[in-house]
Protein backbone atom coordinates (compact mmCIF):
# COMPACT_ATOMS: atom_id res chain seq x y z
CA UNK A 1 0.00 0.00 0.00
CA UNK A 2 1.30 3.44 -0.96
CA UNK A 3 1.19 5.98 1.85
CA UNK A 4 -0.09 9.38 0.73
CA UNK A 5 2.13 12.24 1.82
CA UNK A 6 2.56 15.97 1.73
CA UNK A 7 5.83 17.73 0.90
CA UNK A 8 6.79 20.60 3.22
CA UNK A 9 9.45 23.11 2.12
CA UNK A 10 11.21 25.85 4.03
CA UNK A 11 13.17 28.77 2.58
CA UNK A 12 15.88 31.22 3.60
CA UNK A 13 15.91 32.11 7.33
CA UNK A 14 13.16 29.57 8.13
CA UNK A 15 15.17 26.77 6.50
CA UNK A 16 18.31 27.69 8.37
CA UNK A 17 16.59 28.01 11.72
CA UNK A 18 14.87 24.61 11.31
CA UNK A 19 17.98 22.92 9.92
CA UNK A 20 16.09 21.29 7.03
CA UNK A 21 14.76 22.34 3.62
CA UNK A 22 12.20 19.69 2.74
CA UNK A 23 10.24 16.94 4.49
CA UNK A 24 7.65 14.40 3.48
CA UNK A 25 4.79 14.13 5.97
CA UNK A 26 2.85 10.87 5.72
CA UNK A 27 -0.95 11.10 5.88
CA UNK A 28 -2.33 8.30 8.06
CA UNK A 29 -5.31 6.63 6.36
CA UNK A 30 -8.59 7.96 7.72
CA UNK A 31 -7.07 10.94 9.52
CA UNK A 32 -8.40 14.47 8.91
CA UNK A 33 -6.55 16.32 6.15
CA UNK A 34 -3.91 18.63 7.65
CA UNK A 35 -3.65 22.38 7.06
CA UNK A 36 -0.45 24.37 6.65
CA UNK A 37 -0.99 25.74 10.17
CA UNK A 38 -1.38 22.23 11.63
CA UNK A 39 1.76 21.03 9.83
CA UNK A 40 3.70 24.03 11.22
CA UNK A 41 2.88 22.78 14.77
CA UNK A 42 3.26 19.11 13.91
CA UNK A 43 6.79 19.66 12.55
CA UNK A 44 7.83 21.56 15.66
CA UNK A 45 8.29 24.84 13.83
CA UNK A 46 6.30 26.74 16.47
CA UNK A 47 2.95 26.90 18.23
CA UNK A 48 1.29 29.31 15.87
CA UNK A 49 2.31 30.38 12.40
CA UNK A 50 3.77 33.92 12.69
CA UNK A 51 1.82 36.56 10.77
CA UNK A 52 4.85 37.48 8.63
CA UNK A 53 5.32 33.92 7.36
CA UNK A 54 3.43 33.35 4.12
CA UNK A 55 2.14 30.02 2.90
CA UNK A 56 2.20 28.62 -0.63
CA UNK A 57 0.34 25.48 -1.63
CA UNK A 58 1.40 23.93 -4.92
CA UNK A 59 3.47 27.06 -5.59
CA UNK A 60 0.58 29.52 -5.23
CA UNK A 61 0.03 31.77 -2.19
CA UNK A 62 -2.65 30.16 -0.03
CA UNK A 63 -4.41 30.35 3.32
CA UNK A 64 -2.75 28.68 6.30
CA UNK A 65 -6.08 27.09 7.17
CA UNK A 66 -6.93 25.32 3.94
CA UNK A 67 -7.15 21.54 3.94
CA UNK A 68 -4.31 19.93 2.03
CA UNK A 69 -4.81 17.24 -0.59
CA UNK A 70 -2.52 14.20 -0.63
CA UNK A 71 0.53 14.94 -2.76
CA UNK A 72 0.36 18.67 -2.10
CA UNK A 73 3.52 20.77 -1.76
CA UNK A 74 3.26 23.31 1.05
CA UNK A 75 5.94 25.95 1.54
CA UNK A 76 6.56 28.38 4.38
CA UNK A 77 8.00 31.67 3.12
CA UNK A 78 9.74 34.26 5.29
CA UNK A 79 9.27 37.95 4.38
CA UNK A 80 10.12 38.52 0.73
CA UNK A 81 13.05 40.78 -0.14
CA UNK A 82 13.49 40.67 -3.91
CA UNK A 83 14.18 43.17 -6.64
Amino acid sequence: MITASITVRLFAALRERAGWAERQVALPAGAAAPTPASLWRQLGLGDTLPAQVRVAVNQVFASADQRLEPGAEVAFLPPISGG
Binding site: F11, A12, A13, Q52, A56, Q59, P79, S81, G82
Partner: protein
Protein backbone atom coordinates in the same frame (compact mmCIF):
# COMPACT_ATOMS: atom_id res chain seq x y z
CA UNK B 1 11.15 31.95 -22.54
CA UNK B 2 8.23 33.92 -24.03
CA UNK B 3 4.89 33.19 -22.43
CA UNK B 4 1.74 34.66 -23.87
CA UNK B 5 -0.12 36.57 -21.16
CA UNK B 6 -3.86 37.27 -21.28
CA UNK B 7 -4.79 39.78 -23.95
CA UNK B 8 -1.94 38.89 -26.32
CA UNK B 9 0.74 40.32 -24.04
CA UNK B 10 4.14 38.71 -24.37
CA UNK B 11 6.21 38.17 -21.24
CA UNK B 12 9.89 37.41 -21.40
CA UNK B 13 11.28 36.28 -18.06
CA UNK B 14 14.81 35.23 -17.26
CA UNK B 15 16.44 34.30 -13.94
CA UNK B 16 20.22 34.63 -14.16
CA UNK B 17 22.51 32.54 -11.94
CA UNK B 18 25.43 34.58 -13.33
CA UNK B 19 26.06 38.29 -13.95
CA UNK B 20 23.91 39.74 -16.77
CA UNK B 21 24.06 42.97 -18.77
CA UNK B 22 20.67 44.73 -18.78
CA UNK B 23 21.37 46.42 -22.13
CA UNK B 24 22.12 43.04 -23.74
CA UNK B 25 18.85 41.70 -22.34
CA UNK B 26 16.99 44.78 -23.65
CA UNK B 27 18.56 44.42 -27.09
CA UNK B 28 17.46 40.77 -27.30
CA UNK B 29 13.96 41.76 -26.18
CA UNK B 30 13.67 44.59 -28.69
CA UNK B 31 14.89 42.29 -31.48
CA UNK B 32 12.29 39.69 -30.60
CA UNK B 33 9.53 42.30 -30.48
CA UNK B 34 10.62 43.64 -33.87
CA UNK B 35 10.72 40.08 -35.25
CA UNK B 36 7.09 39.63 -34.20
CA UNK B 37 6.21 42.16 -36.90
CA UNK B 38 4.31 44.47 -34.55
CA UNK B 39 4.77 48.23 -34.93
CA UNK B 40 7.27 49.50 -32.33
CA UNK B 41 5.46 50.71 -29.20
CA UNK B 42 5.18 54.48 -28.77
CA UNK B 43 6.34 54.23 -25.16
CA UNK B 44 8.92 52.01 -23.47
CA UNK B 45 10.16 52.22 -19.88
CA UNK B 46 13.01 50.37 -18.17
CA UNK B 47 14.19 50.09 -14.60
CA UNK B 48 17.54 48.61 -13.56
CA UNK B 49 18.35 47.88 -9.93
CA UNK B 50 21.95 47.28 -8.84
CA UNK B 51 23.50 45.96 -5.64
CA UNK B 52 24.66 48.69 -3.27
CA UNK B 53 28.17 48.63 -1.83
CA UNK B 54 26.89 48.83 1.75
CA UNK B 55 24.52 46.74 3.85
CA UNK B 56 21.23 48.01 5.28
CA UNK B 57 23.20 48.63 8.48
CA UNK B 58 25.72 50.77 6.60
CA UNK B 59 28.79 48.52 6.62
CA UNK B 60 30.64 47.46 3.45
CA UNK B 61 28.89 44.64 1.63
CA UNK B 62 30.92 41.74 0.22
CA UNK B 63 28.07 40.12 -1.69
CA UNK B 64 24.35 39.64 -1.75
CA UNK B 65 23.04 36.09 -1.87
CA UNK B 66 19.68 35.67 -3.55
CA UNK B 67 17.57 32.62 -2.81
CA UNK B 68 14.38 31.86 -4.73
CA UNK B 69 11.71 29.17 -4.99
CA UNK B 70 12.36 27.50 -8.35
CA UNK B 71 9.10 27.07 -10.19
CA UNK B 72 6.99 29.26 -7.95
CA UNK B 73 9.16 32.34 -8.49
CA UNK B 74 8.77 32.13 -12.28
CA UNK B 75 5.04 31.33 -12.06
CA UNK B 76 4.43 34.15 -9.60
CA UNK B 77 6.29 36.70 -11.75
CA UNK B 78 4.18 35.59 -14.73
CA UNK B 79 1.00 36.13 -12.72
CA UNK B 80 2.17 39.55 -11.47
CA UNK B 81 3.15 40.64 -14.99
CA UNK B 82 -0.15 39.47 -16.51
CA UNK B 83 -2.07 41.29 -13.81
CA UNK B 84 -0.11 44.49 -14.26
CA UNK B 85 -0.26 44.29 -18.06
CA UNK B 86 -4.02 43.98 -17.97
CA UNK B 87 -4.47 46.84 -15.51
CA UNK B 88 -2.28 49.26 -17.48
CA UNK B 89 -2.79 48.03 -21.03
CA UNK B 90 0.84 47.01 -21.44
CA UNK B 91 1.85 45.44 -24.76
CA UNK B 92 5.04 43.64 -23.73
CA UNK B 93 6.90 42.92 -20.50
CA UNK B 94 10.47 41.81 -19.87
CA UNK B 95 11.79 40.81 -16.44
CA UNK B 96 15.35 39.72 -15.64
CA UNK B 97 16.36 38.87 -12.08
CA UNK B 98 19.59 37.58 -10.59
CA UNK B 99 19.73 34.59 -8.28
CA UNK B 100 22.72 33.28 -6.36
CA UNK B 101 25.71 35.36 -5.31
CA UNK B 102 25.61 38.95 -6.62
CA UNK B 103 28.45 41.44 -6.18
CA UNK B 104 28.18 45.17 -5.40
CA UNK B 105 27.53 47.15 -8.57
CA UNK B 106 26.06 44.19 -10.45
CA UNK B 107 22.54 44.37 -11.85
CA UNK B 108 20.02 42.47 -9.75
CA UNK B 109 16.77 43.31 -11.55
CA UNK B 110 15.57 44.66 -14.89
CA UNK B 111 11.92 45.48 -15.56
CA UNK B 112 10.98 46.71 -19.03
CA UNK B 113 7.52 47.39 -20.42
CA UNK B 114 5.94 48.88 -23.51
CA UNK B 115 2.54 50.44 -24.10
CA UNK B 116 0.86 52.96 -26.39
CA UNK B 117 1.14 55.93 -24.03
CA UNK B 118 3.76 57.17 -21.63
CA UNK B 119 1.57 57.38 -18.51
CA UNK B 120 0.46 53.73 -18.38
CA UNK B 121 3.95 52.63 -19.44
CA UNK B 122 5.64 54.42 -16.55
CA UNK B 123 2.98 53.49 -14.01
CA UNK B 124 2.84 49.88 -15.19
CA UNK B 125 6.61 49.47 -14.96
CA UNK B 126 6.74 50.96 -11.49
CA UNK B 127 3.87 48.87 -10.24
CA UNK B 128 5.42 45.67 -11.59
CA UNK B 129 8.72 46.50 -9.88
CA UNK B 130 6.93 46.99 -6.54
CA UNK B 131 4.97 43.77 -7.08
CA UNK B 132 8.22 41.86 -7.71
CA UNK B 133 9.75 43.28 -4.56
CA UNK B 134 6.84 42.32 -2.35
CA UNK B 135 5.10 39.39 -4.04
CA UNK B 136 7.73 37.34 -5.87
CA UNK B 137 9.55 34.76 -3.70
CA UNK B 138 13.13 36.03 -3.44
CA UNK B 139 15.16 36.32 -0.28
CA UNK B 140 18.32 38.35 0.16
CA UNK B 141 21.20 37.56 2.47
CA UNK B 142 23.82 40.24 2.99
CA UNK B 143 27.38 38.98 3.40
CA UNK B 144 29.76 41.23 5.27
CA UNK B 145 32.93 40.34 7.16
CA UNK B 146 32.28 36.69 6.31
CA UNK B 147 28.93 36.73 8.12
CA UNK B 148 25.57 36.39 6.34
CA UNK B 149 22.38 38.10 7.54
CA UNK B 150 18.95 37.59 5.97
CA UNK B 151 17.25 40.81 4.94
CA UNK B 152 13.73 41.10 6.26
CA UNK B 153 11.75 43.40 4.03
CA UNK B 154 12.70 45.79 1.25
CA UNK B 155 14.91 48.83 0.96
CA UNK B 156 13.19 52.20 1.18
CA UNK B 157 11.23 53.19 -1.90
Amino acid sequence: MADPLPGNIALQLQLHPERFDPLVALAAWQRSLAASGAEPAAAEAHFIGRVRGVTAAGVPLEALELEHYPGMTEAQISRLAADCAQRHGLRAVRVDHRVGRVLPGEAIVLVAVTADRRGPTQRGGQELLEALKHEAPFWKREWSGGVGAWVEGNTAF
